[in-house]
Amino acid sequence: MKKILLLSLFSVSLLQWSCTDQCTETRKYKRYTSVSVSLADIRQGVRTESARDLINPGKIYTKGNYLFINELKEGLHVVDNSNPSAPKIISFIKIPGNGDMAVRGNILYADSYSDLVALDISNPLTIKEVGRENDVFTTGQFEGAWWGVNTLTGVINDQKMEIVTETVKTNCEGGGNGSWWGGVAFSAFDSRALQSSAPTSGSTANSQGQAGSMARFALYSNYLYTVGQNEMQLFDIRTPDKPRRSTKINVGRGIETIFPYKDKLFIGSTTGMFIYDNSNPERPEQLSVYQHAMSCDPVVVTDNRAYVTLRSGTTCNRGLNQLDVIDITDLRSPRLLKSYPMQNPHGLGVDFPNLFLCEGTHGLKSLNVANDFDVKQLQHLTGMDAYDVIPLSSKSLLMIGKDGFYQFDTSDPSNLRQLSKIPVKRVDI
């Protein structure tokens, strides 16, 4: 009896020695380290290579039977999509520092750090550089890492992004008032936040492709419009293979996207949406500004409605996650009709009356927006990552996420059918 007593007393008291809460916080974050790249190397760097896997896909662009999927900072994957059920990567165009693209006719315009490059894509297996405008962009950003050009030394000062996992012992109070890391809040821009719109039917001469509304490149009339951090730079493309620097317009701060619709330009920034009249393509004029809370804000437009999403998260750091329906009948005074709460909206695309909305890690939503005041959710696909969509007039939907490139048949918007998937071969994220 005594033995049991002693033994139990001993064991309980022994356990008391270890009465220390053990808490560890694990965080995965992006670490940026500086690297320098010489402009001379960049300008020699454009070439066509054999097809490779998707590693870190960015924006998507479609033209005819071809798809272009940006590999962040590396170049473009060329995909033969004549059969949407079996798309095939056929080649890779290496373009150092590339993030955006636009295609008209057989000419593809792409950015390469500070330069604008024109490429002849008539044969997608041997794509050639035909034109280049030097030093037109002074700064830019990939995944939160900024680069800047020093024209005097001919060097691009870039940052390399790595994903780091770090574990620290904490005081078990995270979730209370004193959090160690949560308070760091400043805004940056997420080049991977990609948005899209339905096709603007090809009213302009020469067939051109379709981009997402998050694209910083837009084609209209004889001009290529590109938006930088604060300004809009126009390029005269009357001679398609020799883009020429044209007007530069100061827009405002934190410009993220340009979305052309009819003869208007809708420019998304972190603080609002700018509407420009583009009836004189060489000199767009500002009509109005729609202000909203500071947030990431993709915009798509159809007829007299604009759909804007606000998102909180890594780079926007505001608590809002919502879809705004805006009446733009009077372009000089856009009016908010209603806001709908969302989970973490990224890109969106509209094919009236259907709206497709990417919810990041929460998947893809198919909504019916026929009634502005009663937007209905038709379907919510989960188990995939959704960043950007392009709805096509052929009732199909292109979607890119961190885990792959998807195509859906949208003939029944409440029951999207997956046609194909090109998986992403990536170790992390």
């Binding site: 009896m1 049991i4 007593l5 139990s8 007393l9 064991s11 309980v12 356990l15 008391q16 270890s18 009465c19 220390t20 809460d21 053990q22 808490c23 560890t24 916080e25 694990t26 965080r27 995965k28 974050y29 992006k30 670490r31 940026y32 939160g144 994903i163 620290v168 012992k169 904490t170 005081n171 078990c172 109070e173 995270g174 979730g175 209370g176 959090s179 160690w180 890391w181 949560g182 308070g183 760091v184 809040a185 400043f186 940056a188 998260g313 890594t314 780079t315 750091n317 608590g319 994220i429």
Partner: protein, 196 residues
Amino acid sequence: MKKLFLALLFTHALIYSFTLSAQHKPHYVNMTEVGGLFGRVVYDIPWSVPLSQQLENRLSLTIQTFNGVQLKPRLAVGLTTGLDWYNTALLTPIAAGVRYDLTRSKKDVALIGTLDAGYGFNWLHVNNTGYDTQGGMMLSPGIGLKFGFKSGSAMLLSLSYKRQEAKVTKPLGWGEIEKWEDRVYNRMALRFGFMF
């Protein structure tokens, strides 16, 4: 939910197996206790170079009630439910519990051994914006003193060790992709209560 179900199943199986061999007439028993969870924490001071650590003491309120069957004169089995107010987590442990008289004496005071094993749920916890607190496994062995009254009721004083796991996912700061905290609360529970 699955874990709760398993815990209940385990308790029922235990009760059933003991009932079969019981000579003594089983009866309902309740032990309700209130007390404190004593512990400390050693943590890294963020951004300190060289890395230095800091110690803080911790005390949390705990209430718990054991409802079970006195299967044998010395053995009771049942379900232990409670509430533990950790600084940033309010957890509701649901556990299978055993109470055993370690001393056979007929005197008024008996030494008892206790064991509770189960899962701490976050049902009553309210998260700050952006945080998500999940409960975890709970294990608590201990000993106690039972001061019997003539009525058959008793006063309890117990000392036990409690291990409670939890996980918190946190809102992301700039450049962060994923952030969470794994917690293991190791505490000494000192409780006072009654049994009837």
